[in-house]
């Protein structure tokens, strides 16, 4: 114990007495604090942001969501699309100096493929993953799955990072003990204060993609722009905003919507909208297992209660930053369509109440999990509960913090015994633009996500999408899929919004509008 105290004291003192006057430091406040450092073990977005700083990936999706090679130098796909051969670039090394070999890559992919939803789906088609030599390996599929590269390069959590073999062999249900990757930054674990700050030091031995390719989301040459990145956690949004205005921090990933006018006027501060489809989509998730929402007619009745404008106004305020989207696939994205959206066009609470009655609803309490401490989900839930009450539905709103909601939504028991009927959440627009990557549109019954919608037709369509050969085919499948999913009410969308990030344009350069997770490696300090 004494050792820890001494080590802590020394760790506090030593780095600050070192000459840091010339060091270029980027101070960034993200939407959450870095608590867990294993991006495969958890699906938390912040863990993947951390992961992308210190690890590297085989591919990286660019701003148009097209996969581009990162660690991979060249690759070949066999004509029957069943064999993929990948060759790693030269000079790739882990932070401890050891070279990156196919042993590490295969072990890492297997771990990712055992835990991440998209990875699990990919690996269900993989028959073999074998190394040809230290730099080349083959992936052999049983069917011509069309989303191999997109999955490997995906810019949402959990990212398909490559770790050293010894960490990659850790059971996916346990955290890795070390944070050693081959990415552009190194994690200074000794300086990490969970809940306060996480420190990343430039990896001087990093070999970026040759040719100085301009960064585009996760693609392009990743050249570390500063000597040190400090991911600082400021829990109070107002304090964070004031800190940015005062110059105490350089980059603010998710400023509160109401502060945007102040930030727009502040000297030296610039607002930047993130990539085209980067957005957040609101979801009202109904529990298909228990009454009243085990009846599809009752679920469809709920559509008439939702006026997206009310929700978006309460969450975002400024119409510049939101849009009404009566669909499940991200509006503005490549597969946006109007399938099923007619179901949402009529806002009529009286009709909703009547349809509920016709579906057999007799006034039993509907249990809504009411998050109290989330800055977008809380207002959204309040609007929902009020709309339901005004329609005359009997709402049992159970207040709890987000942590408690996360636990309770996993329970399949009836609401009266610790389960639930409705909860509200959000998902990222980038993942939600693609039927395969959009996990919440699935209907895999018991194996699916909370709410457990069950419809084999939807899963069939999602699979078909992955195997479609032409874009036309894909668009048609997407339309059919959304129509079906809206009819089955896998969830009710309450709107789409995108708010800019804010940074000190007078202090930093090279901020890239991300499509998916935030990209920090190219940022330079003036």
């Amino acid at each position: 114990m004494l050792k820890h105290i001494l080590a802590g004291a020394v760790a506090l003192v030593v780095p600050f007495t070192a000459a840091q006057a010339q060091e270029k430091v980027l101070r960034a406040v993200m939407h959450a604090d870095v608590r867990v450092i294993d991006p495969i073990w958890t699906t938390q977005t912040i863990a993947s942001i951390h992961g992308m700083l210190i690890y590297d990936t085989l591919f990286g999706n660019d701003a148009d969501l097209k996969p581009q090679p990162q660690m991979v130098g060249k690759y070949e796909i066999s004509p029957d699309k069943l064999t993929y051969t990948f060759t790693l670039r030269d000079g790739l090394k882990f932070h401890d100096g050891s070279p990156v070999t196919t042993k590490d890559v295969i072990a890492s992919l297997k771990r990712w493929g055992a835990k991440d939803g998209v990875g699990i789906r990919l690996f269900s088609y993989v028959t073999k993953l074998e190394a040809v030599d230290d730099k080349t390996f083959k992936m052999i599929l049983k069917e011509p799955y069309g989303m191999v590269l997109e999955s490997l390069g995906k810019s949402g959590s959990s990212v398909a990072i490559i770790m050293r073999e010894q960490e990659a062999l850790t059971d996916p249900q346990q955290q890795v003990k070390e944070a050693i990757g081959s990415g552009p930054f190194k994690f200074a674990k000794d300086l990490w204060v969970p809940g306060s700050k996480a420190i990343y030091l430039k990896n001087k031995d990093y070999v970026p993609r040759p040719g100085n390719e301009p960064p585009s989301s996760f693609a392009g040459s990743k050249i570390p722009g500063v000597d040190r990145i400090e991911l600082v956690w400021i829990s109070d949004p107002q304090t964070a905003m004031s800190a940015l205005v005062n110059g105490e921090i350089d980059f603010y990933e998710a400023p509160n919507n109401d502060f945007l006018p102040i930030l727009a006027k502040a000297k030296g501060v610039k607002l930047m909208m993130t990539g085209k489809i980067d957005s957040t989509q609101g979801m009202i998730r109904l529990n298909h297992l228990h009454p009243p929402f085990d009846n599809v007619k009752a679920r469809q009745a709920m559509y008439h209660l939702i006026n997206q404008e009310d929700f978006l106004r309460a969450i975002v305020g400024n119409p510049e930053f939101y849009r009404v989207c009566h669909g499940l696939l991200t509006c503005g994205g490549p597969y946006e369509n109007t399938g099923g959206s007619a179901l949402m066009k009529e806002y009529n609470p009286k009709k909703a109440a009547q349809l509920m009655k016709e579906a057999g609803y007799k006034g039993e309490p509907i249990t809504v999990l009411f998050t109290t401490d989330h800055n977008t989900i809380t207002p959204a839930t309040q609007v929902l509960v009020q709309a339901m009450r005004e329609a005359g539905l009997n709402v049992d709103a159970q207040s709890m913090d987000w942590g408690a909601v996360v636990s309770r939504r996993a329970k399949k028991e009836p609401p009266a015994q610790g389960g639930w009927n409705i909860f509200v959440t959000t998902t990222g627009g980038v993942g939600a633009s693609n039927p395969v990557l959009h996990t919440w549109i699935g209907a895999a019954c018991d194996k699916g996500l909370f709410g457990w919608p069950c419809d084999p037709e939807i899963e069939k369509l999602r699979n078909a999408f992955a195997f479609a050969q032409t874009d036309e085919e894909r668009k048609k499948i997407a339309t059919d899929l959304q129509t079906r999913a809206m009819e089955q009410v896998v969830y009710i969308p309450f709107g789409q919004w995108n708010t800019p990030l804010a940074f000190r344009a007078d202090k930093i350069d090279g901020v890239v509008p991300n499509t998916g997770l935030a990209v920090l490696w190219g940022i330079t300090k003036k």
Binding site: M1, H4, I5, A7, G8, A9, A11, L12, V13, F16, T17, R35, V36, I37, W41, T42, T43, Q44, T45, A47, K115, G117, S157, D171, Q173, Q174, Q175, K177, W192, V193, P194, G195, S196, K197, I234, S235, D236, Q238, T239, A240, S242, A243, V245, N246, E248, D373, M400, D401, G403, A404, V406, S407, R408, A410, K411, K412, T425, K447, L449, F450
Partner: protein, 313 residues
Amino acid sequence: MTAYIVRRLFATLPVMAVVALFVFFLLRFAPGDPAAIIAGEDATAEAIAAVRAKLGLDRPMVEQFFVWMLQLAQGDMGVSIFSNLAVTRLISQRLEPTVALTLSTLFVAVALSIPIGVLAAWKARKLVDRLVMGFAVLGFAMPGFVLAYILIYFFAVQWQLLPVQGYRPIAEGLWPFVECLILPSVALGVTYMALIARITRASMLEVLAQDYIRTANAKGLATDRVLLLHALKNAAVPIITVIGIGIALLISGVVITETVFNIPGLGRLTVDAVLKRDYPVVQGLILVFAAAKVLVNLIIDISYAFLDPRIRY
């Protein structure tokens, strides 16, 4: 005296045991599951269950308790469920900011309130007394974070005299350290001004009415010498008592102040840990706080013995 100290230290053991039991079972009975929080936004029920098993959270509670007790006996407070770092390391990382904030707040509070209390006692029942005491209570009446926001708005944002947030360890230089602590100490210290000022006033009044003070006055000693030398020294006991109580209250206030000013201290660590159900961290912290409180009480009791010769152990 040594015997007294040793006896008192032993007497704290059952208190700590009560605290440990209470905290442990309280946390375990709470709804909300650290495994689900860890597993992340999109995890399935099976993934969550697997995480729970790996963390040992599905063992019977009594067994978990004994495991914890055994660890404690070896000086090991366990590891955080989230970050996998040792609880002792987490606590030691955050000790300096909280101690610095507590001490500077105490300094501000005492430096402001004792003179106020003395002044109010001297001019008892006159307008000055009423005004001064009213002002002190106003500081106490406002919720701490409201005052904090007002101070930040004027001193940091508008006039740009002081930083908005953050904490700089003293190793980075004396002025950066001090400037980050000024606003938080004032915001927090003002809250305790009323308490200390009121007790100072009351006990000064009591002492001033004592016979020996009147004798000193009659002898012709100047008023302020009389006040300072004789009265204050005798009024010290209740004042020290209340400062001791103040330290306990400070911990509660520190939690709010650390949140608003983004000071990475123990208060925020505790709130974060409770809300995320990071059991080992919460358990360890509450033990540390309890131990600190007990220590403070002991120091106060000992200082009584020095200040008041009538009290002997």
